[in-house]
């Protein structure tokens, strides 16, 4: 299931990094995925929704996902969260649940408010997202290049679920591409 960079052209890899994340979810047995809809995660969300082995849970706010992860873990299932950097701020107090009880969790954060951002309202939260995650007890890893997604997400999943740790992987705006203002 792994996306092997040697088998893909650069263009393939740039388009398929969500597939690499999905393949890692399959490999480690993620069974619940909570998300607030997000353009950067749209392909990964579609892959999870189409997978009968994954319960996709659309959230009204990202902090609901933190409870979801805890409940899944109590029931013996692995859960991951997909959110935009702005959503990290919505979770801060709820993250204490993961830390207090040692619930393994992978959060994939699509970054806004950095490279090429057109909307200054995204910048204040985007600029502090990684610091906030660290203060809340997460190990954080940044991904800048599409061909690094597979390896970093795989390593993050292993650490989180084998070690009951909280891991956040920040997918940079340079990787995702700036939000398209017109479609």
């Amino acid at each position: 299931m792994r996306v092997r960079s040697s088998l893909h052209t650069t263009t393939d890899i740039e388009a398929s990094w969500p597939d690499a994340i999905y393949a890692q979810f399959r490999r480690v047995g993620v069974r619940q995925v909570g998300y607030v809809p997000d353009a950067g995660h749209s392909r990964l969300i579609a892959l999870c929704r189409d997978d009968p082995d994954i319960a996709d849970v659309v959230l009204t706010t990202e902090e609901e996902g933190v409870g979801l992860v805890a409940g899944a873990a109590l029931g013996g299932e692995r859960a991951a969260l997909l959110m935009q950097s702005s959503g990290v701020g919505n979770c801060i107090n709820m993250f204490s649940l993961l830390r207090n009880c040692g619930f393994g969790c992978v959060v994939l954060v699509t970054m806004r408010g950095e490279f090429g951002e057109f909307n200054p309202w995204q910048v204040p939260m985007g600029a502090i997202t990684e610091d906030v995650l660290r203060l809340a007890g997460f190990l954080t890893y940044r991904v800048e290049q599409a061909d690094a997604v597979d390896e970093i997400v795989g390593a993050g999943c292993d650490m989180a679920y084998a070690g009951d740790l909280q891991v956040a992987i920040l997918l940079s705006q340079r990787l995702i591409g700036p939000k398209q203002w017109t479609r």
Binding site: A70, G71, G75, G76, L97
Partner: protein, 188 residues
């Protein structure tokens, strides 16, 4: 008005393998007072999160019954969870809101439900299969039956008195509460 301790005790009689999540504050003390159990997940924080923990657990364990017992303050902080649960339609999830219309931990300030904000109507609007308010102890047996066999998602707003009751403090170490729960569930 219900006596909260009497009501919760009756809900948890002969509970079998019922999985229980208790919201922070008085709901956790009520569940502890009804008798400590390894399949209790006591919250001491994470306000607003009890219902979603119930959803994650219900999805992970579709053959088990999951009961979330929480206060009106916790439920009000997580109102969006009702919509999220309404999308997933977990048949095995029930939420009991122990509604005293006050924020009891912080000095008994009035909560939104005291002004008539209606959690039952919200649950029904969020596609809950069954939602009702109860205020008489004679209704406890029917609520207990819903927890064990009702077609979820279910929400019961239990109108409890606002009398102060002694705190009954269960385990507080989150790791211990989690590990004990997981170990007990593995042997169910």
């Amino acid at each position: 008005m219900l006596d909260r301790r009497d009501f919760v005790s009756q809900l948890l009689i002969d509970r079998g393998d019922l999985l229980v999540v208790s919201g922070l504050g008085s709901a956790t003390y009520d569940v502890a007072a009804a008798g400590d159990h390894p399949l209790n997940f006591y919250l001491w924080g994470a306000m607003g999160g009890a219902a979603m923990i119930g959803l994650g657990l219900a999805l992970a364990r579709p053959k088990s019954r999951v009961a979330v017992l929480t206060g009106d303050g916790d439920m009000l902080m997580g109102l969006g969870s009702l919509a999220t649960i309404g999308v997933k339609q977990p048949r095995n999830l029930a939420i009991v809101v122990l509604d005293n219309a006050h924020y009891g931990e912080t000095g008994m300030q009035p909560s939104h439900t005291q002004a008539g904000v209606d959690l039952v109507a919200m649950a029904l609007a969020c596609r809950f299969t069954h939602a009702r308010a109860v205020s008489r102890i004679a209704e406890a047996a029917a609520v207990r039956a819903l927890l064990h066999a009702g077609d979820g998602p279910i929400l019961v707003s239990a109108r409890i008195g606002s009398d102060d009751v002694p705190r009954v403090l269960p385990l507080r170490d989150g790791h211990v509460i989690k590990q004990r729960f997981v170990a007990a569930l593995n042997s169910v």
